[in-house]
């Protein structure tokens, strides 16, 4: 046993090959290229197969990690994907965009002395391997219960709810406002991090299980939650519409042309494929001097998209310092490699326009860190007398999202808090009978996997309600 362990430590974590920074900064192809079967086998053999796996505790949807990795190690890739599907309907997505370093891999015992087992990479490998292979059987679906569930929105939380409930035998229909399903996975996360054909394949997987997807259905306008319950005969509704309300800075000049919300910039480039203009009809302005305001994952996506759109001068302007950046370390690292400049401890004061109403410069206030605020991070305070004006003909605001009121305002009986987020308990139960909610519209903007985790809990609760009336 001890010998075995020593041997495993020597192997070291297998890095996933990726496009070189100087190449990838100008294309929209995926950055990491994926494991070969040999790499996956070797990486899987690093897993200690712990009896009490700490990694699983770190996973919001409880993926049976040692079991699926063991199957990969044995070369049983079909077995691996079936294990993953037991707890996760979106393994190809989660393998790519989950912050594994804070979850499964953060808990990995191998990681105490060496680098943790690359659980995310292995999950991605198993899902990519299985995609389109006819020999991979569909997971089992329970006999029909005759109960109908409507899922509002088609982001990661909603897809999880749909996947869980369809397999428990309930009928599921997803209502999506956009023309394509996937929510933030298609409009927000860029192609180079999450290829859209992979999202389409994950949705297609659910459709093959029997989930119906209705696009162009704006709940709150085309149909209301009450109509779904009373007229369309649904027994339960899950609201997973995300935090779709862009926050702006509220400073002068914000309506100049050339100023975008990150939501708009990313929706144009991802969902509408503006990077393929004029082959695709949706345009996007190409800036010479781009500033992205904010330091989260969305800011990183906007920065790296702007770089790929052909701009050489792309700056991240963040009011705190490097240490407080809320984005994943890997995203920041990728952005730095691709030549993004970082303006830490700067806060925008006003946007300055030219005579035609286009943005041409931005005035920044230098900041310094003071005492910690309620978030525990040191509060940035203005440094007296030090402002500067820099060239900027495109600005992208990525300082978070709020609650979009379209569904909540048209659903009487649904309680919301003072920020407009839906009041729901741990299981996603809202104050309105037969209505559950989860993800960003309950918690505020968070991650794909937390939304999926909320979806899992809500799906369990909905299933209990439909089965026993709890």
């Amino acid at each position: 046993m001890a010998e075995d362990k020593v041997k495993k430590e020597k192997v070291g974590r297998h890095q996933m090959p990726e496009q070189a920074p100087e190449v990838r900064r100008r294309n929209f192809k995926e950055v990491p290229l994926g494991y070969t079967a040999e790499m996956a086998l070797a990486e899987a053999s690093r897993c200690l197969q712990c009896k009490k796996p700490a990694c699983v505790e770190g996973c919001p949807v409880g993926v049976p990690i040692p079991e699926f990795i063991n199957r990969i190690a044995e070369g049983d890739f079909v077995g691996a994907i079936l294990k993953l599907w037991e707890k996760n309907s979106l393994p190809a997505v989660c393998g790519r965009v989950c912050p594994q370093e804070n979850q499964c891999e953060g808990n990995c015992i191998v990681g105490k002395k060496d680098k943790p087992v690359a659980i995310g990479n292995l999950e991605r490998f198993a899902a990519d391997w299985a995609r389109g292979r006819s020999e991979v059987p569909m997971p089992p679906v329970k006999p029909k219960t005759g109960k109908k569930v409507a899922v509002v929105g088609s982001g990661p939380g909603s897809l999880t709810v749909a996947g869980d409930l369809i397999r428990k035998g309930h009928e599921v229909t997803i209502y999506e406002a956009f023309h394509k399903p996937g929510g933030v996975l298609v409009y927000g996360i860029p192609e180079f991090r999450l290829p859209k054909e992979i999202v389409a394949a994950e949705v297609n997987f659910l459709e093959r299980l029997g989930v119906k997807v209705e696009c162009n259905a704006v709940v709150g306008r085309t149909v209301t939650v009450d109509e779904l319950l009373d007229k369309e005969g649904f027994d339960a509704v899950y609201i997973g519409v995300g935090a779709g309300l862009p926050r702006f800075l509220g400073i002068p000049g914000e309506n100049l042309m050339g100023v975008y919300s990150a939501n708009e910039y990313l929706t144009r480039s991802n969902l509408m494929k503006a990077y393929l203009f004029p082959e695709y009809d949706t345009p996007l302005v190409k800036g010479q001097h781009v500033c992205v305001f904010g330091g989260g994952n969305v800011a990183m996506d906007a920065l790296r998209t702007a770089m790929r759109m052909g701009c050489d001068d792309v700056k991240c302007v963040y009011r705190r310092s490097h240490e407080e950046m809320p984005c994943r370390a890997e995203e920041l690292h990728h952005a730095e490699q691709e030549g993004i400049q970082f303006f830490y401890l700067h806060n925008p004061l006003r946007f300055i326009g030219d005579e035609r109403g286009w943005l041409k410069a931005v005035e920044l206030q230098e900041m310094e860190l003071g005492e910690p605020d309620e978030s525990g991070r040191r509060r940035p305070v203005a440094k007296a007398g030090s402002t500067k004006t820099i060239d900027c003909d495109m600005a992208i605001i990525a300082v978070g999202s709020g609650a979009n009121p379209l569904v909540t305002a048209t659903t009487p009986g649904l309680a919301v808090n003072k920020w407009g987020y839906i009041d729901a308990d741990e299981a996603g139960k809202t104050k309105k009978p037969k209505v559950w909610a989860g993800g960003d519209i309950v918690t505020g903007a968070a991650t794909v996997i937390l939304a999926a985790g909320a979806g899992r809990k809500a799906a369990d609760s909905i299933h209990q309600h439909l089965s026993w009336g709890w």
Binding site: A177, H179, V218, V223, Y260, S261, N263, T267, E279, N404
Partner: protein, 283 residues
Amino acid sequence: MFQILSKTELAQGTVVANEIMAPKIAAKARPGQFVILRVNETGERIPLTMADSDPKRGTITIIYQVVGKSTALLKSLNVMDYIQDIAGPLGRPTPIEKKGTIICVGGGTGVAVLHPITRGFKQAGNKVIGIIGARTKDLLIMEDKMRAATDELYVCTDDGSYGHHGFVTDVLREQLTKLGSEVKEAVTIGPVPMMKFCAKVTAEFGVPTMVSLNAIMVDGTGMCGCCRVSVGGKTEFACVDGPEFDGHKVDFEELGRRLTAYQKQEKEAMDLYQHKCSCAANQ
């Protein structure tokens, strides 16, 4: 997919009316609301206001002016063809109630949007005065329908080829002077400069004025903020807070500028599209 049931060309083919099968939207549509459509897989999402809806037939009617590639592409579709995506009804409906006398002013294709609102005010028991205008007689649309929906209708052309020789604002001023405080509200829908000047005139008379704004949009559900407009110094989203706003508070200069944001790309796309069409025609 949404099937086109009828296609009528108006204003010498510069304006097209389509009746489209869209039962779910038709069931909900109210005057003043709009849809966002995408003609085909590579198309952009464009907002178009609805000129009519028929819940019984399950249809909506859109009337649009051909101004760029997307509308040219839409015009290339014929009866029985399908539009890839239509989402709606979007935006807030016009608040229609009995108030007294209402003046409805429309210019260009704005008349198409104005018509169901005008009809709504008439049906609610208001005395409705209509004023519609166009550059020249041949570009005027929906005169008959507007006449049927109003108690009095005045027609203006910029070049004097039909009706009053001059702008809608001339007749608006005349009517406001004549009717005084009898006029409880004005609704004005059309090109940005027309709405701006109409709102200026009604402000002189202290008549509340509603305008319908055609900002550039992407999602139409308040998610992206592309359609932001300044109203009374506050930023609003035309797609969810509007499209109708208090005309006395709208920053029309900013709206006019923001509508030009993609002029260069729009021209590039249109040139390429026309080039492809002429190549195909030559083959």
